[in-house]
């Protein structure tokens, strides 16, 4: 319930989420493992499937089930290969291709290999969503570019010693090509699919939290996953290859287990006030990235807003009112403040009460679906709790941006976009205490760092912006809504 997602503003996070979603459907390993009898063969498909048994093909939930065949006219230096026909997005049988190849029988001992390798080509240049293997020790390469020429692909094993029995020996997922929602299908072929000992998989650089040292204020009971979890190797061709991997490859540790612990799944749970640093090791190599928790104590909710007539409220973010759809707590943001300290953005659900937390905030823009007309309303309300020490000169700057009649973000060209800011001085804030702030909608008069002149239009409002680089860079936010009395 109190799971906190740390937004690391990197593409890979999104990919990781997709993958987690797409692969979490399968998870099982035989209880009666007999190590002595396991095959240690690496080959999965050469000219035919090898040692896979009868019933090994398991499509992902939601994927088109019948995309897989063995092509007898196409292959890498041969005439047979695995063929996958990626469907169109609007295919009623399923809008994407994706499946696990799970050995029908005993798993294999893969401890003597260092990579899954295969050759692949596609009917046209395309980017497949993922290739990988493993159940408990899932290992995946995301966003793989396929060309019309046969090319070899290498999925390095993060730590072969863990793979004493693997049944899920191959996994893929791919959607069509083109505009989101209208993707067009294509075909790709896979051949010479096998685990190998290449001897050139080297220089491991495991990472948690995308390799960033993240510092967050936390509350008792909060949980933090350390994703994305990755392992990066340098391949024999000199290229680096990063895999998204299961937490079970890592050994996690907490500098202060009384304050916070990590379980084997890489989930950090906060127990008491204090500080703790969470780090990880993979096969003897310290992972890049850490989570530095500053536990403030028990969480206290912001005051519950009063009941209002729905026509009097346009809510961006509140559990007390019906809010706008498509909330994005960071449509845009800066790298962090002070310089060199990375911004942290997270949203936590405290038993049904969601709050947003910004740390090392320089600036962030909150967005939602569509634009709203707030010209008939009186105030922008926010509840703010500052989680840092305050100096008298510190300021939290709040802005709104209106996208104008054309309704779209015109970027630096502006066209009809307008925006303006309002300063909340330190005197109106308090560390560790929720403070309700009501800003008259016509008081966003200050020019903005982004170049807006102030006093924006109010009929197509699309963003609420928080600027922390005037001193108030660590805040909790709740109940962001426009209203009238």
């Amino acid at each position: 319930m109190k799971r906190t997602r740390i937004n690391i503003i990197k593409k890979s996070v999104f990919v990781a989420c997709l993958i987690a979603a797409s692969t979490s459907c399968e998870r099982s390993i035989s209880d009666d493992v007999e190590f002595a009898t396991l095959s240690n063969g690496g080959e999965i498909f050469t000219d035919d499937f090898i040692g896979m048994g009868e019933d090994f093909y398991f499509p992902f939930i939601g994927a088109k089930p019948d995309v897989f065949s063995v092509d007898m006219d196409e292959g890498y230096e041969s005439t047979t290969s695995i063929r996958i026909d990626v469907p169109n997005a609007d295919d009623p049988a399923g809008g994407f291709a994706g499946a696990n190849f799970v050995i029908d029988g005993s798993g294999r001992n893969l401890t003597e290999f260092d990579a899954l390798t295969f050759w692949a080509r596609a009917s046209q240049a395309a980017t497949a969503g993922l290739f990988g293997f493993g159940e408990e020790f899932s290992t995946e390469v995301a966003q793989v570019d396929l060309t019309t020429q046969w090319q070899q692909y290498i999925v390095p094993i993060p730590d072969p010693s863990k793979l004493v029995e693997v049944k899920n020996v191959f996994r893929f997922a791919a959607g069509g090509i083109g505009t989101e929602g209208q993707e067009v299908g294509y075909s790709f072929w896979i051949d010479e699919l096998k685990f190998e000992k290449l001897g050139t998989i080297a220089q491991p650089r495991p990472a948690i939290l995308a390799g960033q040292d993240v510092t967050v204020d936390a509350f008792i009971g909060q949980e933090f996953p350390l994703i994305p979890l990755t392992q990066t190797f340098n391949l024999g061709n000199g290229q680096n290859q990063t895999t998204l991997i299961d937490a079970s490859y890592f050994t996690f540790s907490s500098s202060n287990p009384e304050v916070a612990k990590v379980n084997e799944g890489g989930i950090v749970t906060v127990f008491r006030q204090g500080t703790a640093e969470i780090t990880a090791v993979l096969n003897g190599v310290s992972a890049q990235g850490s989570l530095n928790l500053n536990v403030l104590g028990s969480f206290v909710s912001a005051p519950i807003p009063p009941a209002r007539d729905p026509s009097d409220v346009i809510s961006v973010f509140s559990d007390s009112y019906e809010s706008l759809s498509g909330l994005n707590v960071a449509v845009f943001n800066g790298p962090g403040f002070p310089a060199g300290e990375p911004i942290s953005i997270s949203m936590t659900d405290f038993d049904g009460n969601n709050i947003i937390e910004y740390g090392n905030l320089d600036f962030v823009g909150i967005g939602w679906d569509g634009n709203v007309d707030v010209s008939g309303l009186q105030f922008l309300h926010i509840d703010v709790q500052v989680t840092q020490g305050l100096s008298p000169s510190d300021i939290l700057n709040v802005q709104i941006i209106d996208f104008g009649a054309n309704g779209v973000d015109d970027g630096s060209v502006r066209v009809d976009d307008t925006g303006g800011g309002f300063n909340i001085p330190a005197a109106d804030l308090e560390e560790g205490v929720w403070v309700p702030i009501d800003i008259p909608v016509n008081q966003f008069t200050l020019p903005t760092g982004g170049g807006f002149a102030g006093s924006p239009n109010l009929t197509n409002v699309a963003r609420v912006v928080f600027v922390g680089n005037l001193g108030v860079a660590n805040i909790l936010v709740d109940n962001i809504y426009f209203y009238r009395n």
Binding site: K197, G199, A202, Q203, R205, N234, G236, G238
Partner: protein
């Protein structure tokens, strides 16, 4: 690799020799065609070595340092990006190894620091077996080298003095090393030479140079330089192979350096190049 003004246009014969059998064949053939008084396999008398057993500053009776970014401020003629220092951070002897470390740091106008050690005026020899056991660094733009220059270079400028590159390596190609000779008329500079240096690539199979130690060496005698990695002799260069004067019948001195960036490695490091990078040298041995 010194004073190369432009990209090295080398004639690369990429051959992977998997057994020493072929090497023996080469020696056998060579023996048939050459003066009977010459013998390649007699360099077994160790005359000088540094085993790097004394911690701290490299032995000053063996090693000197080149400092800076080259006499012309052009990255030693190669557009190398590092500033060479004699600081212990960049070169030190520790745990039985000479460790040369390249850092990404602002220093004297350069973005990287590293070290270049040389035996000029200290250890110079004509002919013999020269070998070093090393573990190489890795990553785009990383360029370690174990090489030799003619000891008369002060009066006979490069490439006239001659250069024997026992080992050069591009960090973006972690399975390959090169062995080369440069001389008058054949060198890595298009301005100074009509012909390219004479060079051969050696590639490891199912292994790479940055994960373990390998021995890089030459056997050098009158009219030949033989190149080997570990127990594999992978090339022989003779006067017939060089498109110019053979200038390898005089004393040479040794250099070991770790460059960052340069024409040889196709420019500088990229975002994925990890720093610091370390070149480990277990020993340098000279036989006659």
């Amino acid at each position: 690799m010194m004073n190369v003004k432009n990209s090295i246009r080398i004639k690369v014969r990429e051959i992977v020799y998997q057994t020493t059998l072929f090497a023996i064949v080469i020696l056998a053939c060579w023996a048939c065609n050459t003066d009977d008084t010459q013998d390649v396999v007699t360099f077994e008398n160790l005359v000088r070595s540094d085993e790097f057993d004394v911690e701290g500053t490299p032995d000053p009776e063996f090693w000197d340092f080149d400092i800076g970014n080259g006499p012309n401020g052009d990255g030693w003629g190669n557009q190398e990006l590092q500033y060479y220092t004699a600081r212990s951070e960049n070169a030190t002897v520790e745990n039985g190894f000479l460790i040369i470390t390249a850092f990404q740091e602002s220093f004297e106008g350069s973005d990287y620091t590293s070290a270049r050690l040389l035996t000029k005026g200290l250890v110079e020899q004509q002919y013999g077996r020269f070998e070093a056991r090393m573990r190489l660094p890795y990553g785009k733009g990383i360029w370690p080298a174990f090489w030799m220059l003619g000891a008369d270079i002060d009066t006979n400028p490069w490439p006239g003095a001659g250069e024997i590159d026992i080992m050069e390596y591009r960090g973006q190609e972690p399975t390959r090393v090169l062995g080369s000779v440069h001389g008058p008329g054949y060198c890595g500079s298009e301005e100074l030479c009509e012909e390219t240096a004479v060079s051969t690539t050696f590639e490891l199979e199912n292994d790479r140079f940055d994960t373990g130690f390998h021995v890089f060496g030459i056997e050098w005698g009158p009219n030949f330089v033989n190149y080997y990695v570990d127990d594999v002799l992978y090339n022989q260069i003779t006067p017939d192979d060089v498109p110019g004067e053979w200038v390898f019948d005089k004393p040479f001195y040794i250099l070991i350096n770790l460059a960052v960036g340069g024409t040889f490695v196709g420019g500088g490091p990229n975002d994925e190049t990890v720093f610091p990078q370390r070149l480990l040298v277990d020993y340098v041995r000279i036989y006659n």
